[in-house]
């Protein structure tokens, strides 16, 4: 098996190559393709790298263990997002019964000095959102997923997703303060 051949395969085919044929390089190729996105999403949902790492592992273990349950009913990436959301939910549930890891300070990037305060504000506002709203908002506004994709990934109706996104954004807007020129201040919902 040539690595170059593996690189050309679809995600589904890579999973099959590993599960059916035992081609372990397929795991590495699939990880390279998707781990940044899975880790990044998990990080924004969970708020720290240690948990994002654990969640990422769960996601990809799930990809290979539950390959049989993936029957092309949805796109592979949608399935991947669903596994990510599930892993984050499970992890958050476990964390609620044990001490949380210390929250991390994101060091402002040098070329964004002027925006560092904004970023800290948005990060802190995101953290204070209920998890379902935070997940929906991050998937929509940071990862650009459609309402339908978010609905599929979060086991929710499209209407529910729409509502979570709206409430999440309103709460964030409240947490960020009034925008320049705006006079209305939205009241964030209490989590």
């Amino acid at each position: 098996m040539w690595i170059a051949d593996l690189e050309a395969l679809s995600d589904e085919e890579l999973v099959r190559r590993f599960v059916s044929d035992g081609v372990s390089e397929a795991v590495a190729v699939l990880l390279r393709r998707h781990q940044d996105r899975v880790f990044g999403l998990a990080y924004r949902i969970l708020g720290n790298r240690a948990d994002a790492l654990d969640a990422s592992q769960e996601v990809f273990v799930g990809v290979f263990r539950k390959a049989a349950s993936f029957r092309h009913r949805s796109a592979f990436t949608t399935w991947l997002y669903r596994l990510t959301v599930n892993a984050c939910t499970d992890l958050a549930r476990r964390r609620s019964r044990s001490p949380r890891p210390a929250e991390e300070v994101e060091v402002p990037v040098p070329d964004a000095i002027g925006r560092a305060d904004d970023r800290l504000a948005i990060r802190s506002a995101l953290r204070s959102l209920p998890a379902d709203q935070r997940t929906a908002v991050v998937m929509r506004d940071l990862y650009g997923l459609s309402y339908e994709e978010i609905a599929a990934a979060t086991h929710a109706a499209v209407g529910t997703v729409k509502s979570r996104i709206a409430r999440g954004r309103a709460a964030l807007a409240g947490g960020l303060g009034e925008p320049a020129g705006g006079r209305a201040r939205l009241t964030p919902e209490k989590p």
Partner: protein, 300 residues
């Protein structure tokens, strides 16, 4: 539209999710209602703030941890029972080549190297198993080690795809990982993982029969691993190889009653620069001295 617009409508509007007719009414209202226009601006600012968050990716170390954890778990799941002792599981780290898109050819080599960490061969060989690693797999002969190495999932399940071109990056990342791991040996994280090419393991050359003369190009000035560390031992073995080497796996084991290291890697002939690495070899080294206790090889 005279009534104020709801948050949900405004939010959906920002996503282009409001049907044509309703959108026209909303836009007319926004043009004449500063309060709703302000709400819209506030929501839009929230969207922009989230969208402006920097992407967060796993570091190289985190990627390695993900890969290792995933491989370990999905590979173990497919294995028959018998090597499930949880106590030794964390000491087995599977090496899977991630040789960047290089067109690599099949190889077939596993070079299993068992380093037994006891300084000089003791007169007590064969006595009670070492207390330091009671859960490690135990072997009493080289044949057992070889059979075990041949049964490792990476060997049993498929062929390897390493070439000589993978040797340097694979070795660097392997050694860095070992050096950074608390399991790397009694000296723990004594050797700083710099990511650069490691030295020939000067700290070990005196006690290792295989590390006599590090290749000149490997004799760079980087921190030498501390004697007694797995990283240093592995390094000295690699530097003593005449040809390219791609580390595959190592494990903490017990050999003839003593704590030992099992190290699996692919190797090729001296001077090889691009061909497949076609040899699999197994050795056992004393942990403290890095002395070879047993070695064997095969070409699957």
């Amino acid at each position: 539209m005279s009534a104020h617009a709801g948050t949900e409508l405004l939010s959906a509007y920002l996503d282009g999710q409001v049907p044509e007719a309703a959108r026209a009414r909303l836009e007319a209202h926004l043009a004449s209602c500063p309060e709703c226009a302000g709400k819209r601006a506030a929501l839009e600012a929230a969207v922009g703030a989230v969208a402006a968050l920097p992407p967060v990716s796993p570091t190289a170390g985190e990627k390695e941890a993900i890969r290792r954890g995933v491989l370990e778990r999905v590979t173990r799941a497919g294995q028959p029972a018998g090597r499930g002792a949880g106590a030794w599981r964390p000491t087995l780290r599977w090496r899977l080549s991630a040789a960047g898109g290089a067109a690599a050819l099949v190889i077939a080599g596993v070079f299993a190297y068992v380093a037994v960490r006891s300084s000089t061969p003791r007169a007590t060989t064969g006595s009670a198993p070492a207390a330091s690693s009671p859960a490690a797999p135990a072997f009493s002969s080289g044949a057992e080690v070889l059979a075990y190495a041949a049964s490792l999932p990476e060997v049993a399940q498929g062929v390897r795809t390493h070439t000589a071109a993978d040797a340097a990056p694979a070795t660097d990342s392997f050694l860095s990982r070992l050096a950074a791991s608390p399991e790397a040996g009694s000296t723990s994280t004594g050797s700083a993982p710099t990511g650069s090419a490691p030295t020939g393991g000067a700290g070990f050359s005196a006690s290792s029969p295989r590390a006599a003369a590090p290749a000149p190009e490997k004799a760079m000035a980087s921190p030498a691993p501390r004697p007694g560390s797995l990283a240093g031992c592995v390094q000295s073995v690699i530097s003593a190889q005449p040809g390219p080497v791609v580390p595959l796996a190592e494990a903490s084991v017990t050999f003839q009653g003593r704590p030992a290291w099992l190290f699996v890697f692919a190797s090729g002939p001296a001077g090889a620069t691009g061909g497949p690495l076609s040899q699999v070899d197994v050795r056992v080294l004393a942990q403290a001295s890095c002395a070879t206790l047993n070695q064997s090889s095969f070409a699957p």
